[in-house]
Amino acid sequence: MDRRIVITGIGVVTPIGIGCEMFWNNLLAGQSGIAPVQSFDTSEYNVHRGAEVKEFNAEDYILNLDAAHLGRASQFAIAAARLALADAGVEIGSLDRKRAGVSMGTTSGEPREVERFDDAYVSKKLDRIGPEFIQLYPCHVIAAHVASELQFAGVNTMIPTACAAGNYAIAHALDVMRAGRADLMLAGGSDAFSRITFTGFARLGAVAPEICQPFDRFRKGMIPGEGAGVLVLEPLDRARRRGARIYAEVAGYGLSCDAHHMTAAHPEGAGAERAMRQALADSRTNCEDVSYISAHGTGTATNDRLETIAVKRLFKDEAYRIPISSIKSMLGHTMGAASAIEAAVCALAVFSNRIPPTINLNDPDPECDLDYVANSARELPVNIAMNNAYAFGGNNASLILRKRELLN
């Protein structure tokens, strides 16, 4: 069983475009998807902006299941899955469906279902909520619906590790394939815009009023978003045999837990550093070999500062050489989808030798003095990319993607 696992397809549903090509072009152009929130009334809040997906027509992508009977996160996930498979040139009909699996991550699952429940509850009309609630709400339905739509009967996992979920899901898919338990895995994350999430982050004082400006001295916080990212993972030998385009190898990962605080990272970035260190060791990568880092970079005062500390502690002098960008500056924080979309970005970076910018970075915080690729995309050789993600509950995950030419 070939233990070298590669990415052959990318599908994304994002606030700046649906589908890999549109998304990548807009990302490199520094386009922002942040705008006034449309999906619910924010007049009672102090903040009013979010990164919602525009012009998403679920019926275009959902061909077997009934889109009207799926929650939004499931719709995004199926769309991203189909886009990824098309991008990979995979003939779904020719797959051994028992060896095709799905590994997804999320933060909220299908929040609109529980919001609907709560609306009915407070207006004392709970009988409006019928049998579909338990079928549509629990977060595992996202991975389940993808599998049902595509008839993938293999491994099916949902890893809801919040803002780091995408990385966890991709790491798990990597392990499943290395153990020989699947020939093809769809791996990624999905989250729908959520009143609950918006309320919570607003209540924590973590939401920026206008823009997301990671690493900037005047950064005011994160901007909640939504979306999905799905990668097609295959063993290298199968990908080569069918002449697939290979974006990158999934070379390794590291996981750790802060065990410190539910919503704030360890004050010295210790957990983040451990996850990165493990990812390097796991993929046998040295600090000087890392070409690019996709940061967690939410734009909050603490995250960006602690993330900088963690990168410096691990990479030492190399930290000043490695370009680091936060695409949350453009996409906002797409929650469980974030690190999946960011992994896609790392794959595209490795494939095309181009990296996206961190936009809105006009006055860097002196404590964030690394090269954060301010405002303009850049061309440079990208051999090895690292993708970092940190979540509530102290869940940290780092993923390493490697250029296919480096595969022996």
Partner: protein
């Protein structure tokens, strides 16, 4: 290697007490006191009466932890104590946690949302928000017990806990971790209870406490919901031997698959169950006749129980006439994320004392019911290898095989 276990259940807060209760045919299914069931079809559930986490966690401030987090943190305390992991040892070797849960806390999510709806978003509770993410209980438990190694949450419905044990097993096999708490939890709460009730999955009225659910019985007409937490301490064999830990047993095989029809098509459902069993058998390098007992997932569901029975026969190549079968959800109810791990804890006890709990009230089965050794009374069973199934309401299937510890 399994070196310890912790369980919080309505039938006992230690493996021995739980096993003793099951052996005496005691039922946890009683009128629910935790919330009002007025207007619902089913008034009964497997509630942990008067659950007091301070008994296990001491006098620390538990306000930040909701019920689910308290269940998990308490079970973790018991598992750490049972496996002999002192604080000194844990300064040298980090321990991680892999938790399976279907909902984590739907109650907290709803309460948070409802307070914001009723009082306005400015008065939403920040502390509750930190518990609205599905990895919250795992995060809280890591903080409570300083668990800084891998921390993952798996959410695949009923199979969550068994999938978590499988995930942890793979991490240890691959050398990524050496010691992990692995298992699952779910709480009883109005919101999820309502959902199951409305979906017609719970037994209707006209039944009295203790009379249902009756897995496999021809009169069965639904499940009962329960709650609890169960965690196993898994370690690599070298570490267990190094520290002279007692070995309760070993996870020798696991397998999972997905029923794309989500339970609607019997042929696909049966095949998915059989697939999961076959994967577990081949992972364990065992043949059907080497399986000494089955701990079934059957919970009183009309379709599900029959699918499982047929799936087991198919998965074990028809060699089931002499296979003793138990179904402990008959007494605990359907504990969702906790269910598979509870079955594991009970199976380890059976391996120790040779007693396989009966299925109370199992008096009549359909003519073609194939599992002839599913009995209402306890059976004597010399179990070296035991098979555990977890089968979801809507597609997920997971099987685990445990082998007896050497000392037994």
């Amino acid at each position: 290697m399994i070196t310890g276990a912790g369980v919080i259940s309505p039938l006992g807060d230690s493996p021995a007490r739980l096993h003793d209760s099951l052996g005496r045919g005691l039922s946890a299914i009683k009128p629910i006191k935790l919330f009002s069931t007025e207007g619902l079809g089913c008034p009964l559930g497997g509630e942990i009466a008067d659950f007091d986490a301070t008994k296990y966690l001491g006098q620390r401030n538990l306000r930040p932890l909701d019920r689910t987090s308290r269940l998990v943190a308490s079970a973790a305390q018991l598992a750490l104590a049972d496996s002999g992991w002192s604080i000194e040892m844990r300064n040298v070797q980090e321990i991680g946690l892999v938790l399976g849960t279907m909902f984590c806390s739907l109650h907290t999510i709803s309460e948070f949302d409802r307070r914001a709806l009723e009082a306005g978003p400015a008065y939403a509770s920040p502390m509750d928000f930190s518990n609205t993410v599905i990895n919250a209980a795992a995060g809280q438990t890591a903080i409570a017990h300083n668990l800084r190694d891998v921390n993952t949450t798996i959410s695949t419905g009923v199979t969550s806990g068994l999938e978590a044990i499988s995930y942890a097993t793979e991490l240890i096999r691959s050398g990524r971790a050496r010691a992990l708490l692995a298992g699952g939890a779910d709480e009883l709460c109005f919101e999820s209870f309502y959902g199951f009730d409305r979906a017609g999955l719970l037994c209707r009225s006209n039944v009295t406490a203790g009379d249902f659910p009756i897995p496999f019985d021809s009169r069965r007409n639904g499940s009962a919901l329960g709650e609890g937490a169960a965690l196993l301490m898994l370690e690599d064999v070298a570490l267990a031997r190094e520290r002279g830990a007692k070995i309760l047993g070993e996870v020798v095989g696991h397998g999972s698959s997905y029923d794309c029809s989500r339970g609607q098509d019997s042929v696909q459902a049966v095949e998915a169950i059989a697939s999961a069993i076959r994967h577990a058998m081949s992972d364990a390098f065992l043949l059907p006749h080497e399986i000494d007992c089955l701990s079934a997932s059957a919970n009183g569901s009309r379709g599900g129980d029959q699918h499982e029975a047929e799936g087991v026969v198919a998965g074990l190549n028809g060699q089931t006439q002499k296979l003793p079968v138990t179904a402990i959800k008959s007494m605990l109810g359907e504990t969702l994320g906790a269910s598979g791990p509870m079955q594991a804890v009970s199976l380890l006890e059976t391996m120790r004392d040779g007693v396989l709990p009966g299925i109370p009230q199992l008096h009549q089965v359909e003519d073609d019911f194939p599992l002839t050794m599913a009995r209402s009374k306890n059976q004597e069973a010399d179990v070296i290898n035991g098979l555990i199934n977890s089968i979801g309401f809507d597609g997920h299937c997971c099987s685990l095989i445990l082998s007896r510890g050497e000392e037994n």
